[in-house]
Amino acid sequence: MTAPATTDTGRIPGEVGIWVFVLGDMSVFALFFSTFAYSQARDGSDFTRAQKQLELPFGLLNTVLLLTSSLFVAIAVHRVLQGDPRRVRQLFVGALACGLCFLGVKALEWGQLFADGRSAGGTGGEGEMFNYYFMFTGIHALHVVIGCIVLSRLIALDPAQPRTDNQKVLVESGGIFWHMVDLLWVVLFALFYLTR
């Protein structure tokens, strides 16, 4: 891990490698988004009928949770970069709590759908929609789990000790990953819950 890179006209937040990963991961999700939008447009009413079976309050609550967690992480990262240790650990704990609540809400939502007989592997427009839904939100939930592990690592850093340059890069890179998890959900929420 290296010190934060800077140039005359700007800096690279975190590490170069995290941006390669983030932009690559976002590109894979862009293919997911496009595939979903195409299938939705092609299949029409069967597809949107299945979308209407998704509970909007679950999606909305999860959106608020991730946006709020991103706020906590953004403030914490800024304070670490400024050498200001005030409430940094509490902010990361708050973000982690939001992430865990997101997973809890997602589990509840999936549980209800399973109880109603919905699952991956279906056929027709309705089955195809749920295939996309379980696959994409499942992959995204895996990102949330990884993000929670990253946040746990950042919480474990001793707040009383001044951060080294390497630790600052670690914290900022971890924050960038978490924000990526947030912005991917923003698009998933729009596609699954709002375009129906």
Binding site: I12, P13, L56, S70, H78, Y193
Partner: protein, 84 residues
Amino acid sequence: MTRRMVVVWLVLLVATVVSLSVEQGNVGAKVTGVVVTVIALFKVRLIGQQFMGLREAVRPLQLAFDAYVTVVAVVLITIQLAFA
């Protein structure tokens, strides 16, 4: 700085409520799809610029991110308008 981030968070929440109200309204599937997509990609760019630190980043990184947002928006809107 903290205040600015809170303002960004509030803008993100308001944008979410606006897209929700569009979904609840009777404006037609195509209009809903386009407006909701534009709002979502606006939120993505806001998160990138304000939370991920791109506002102060080197130009190529900013351009790469903006290119991503633009391409995804254009592709999704084109699909919604051309194939629906």
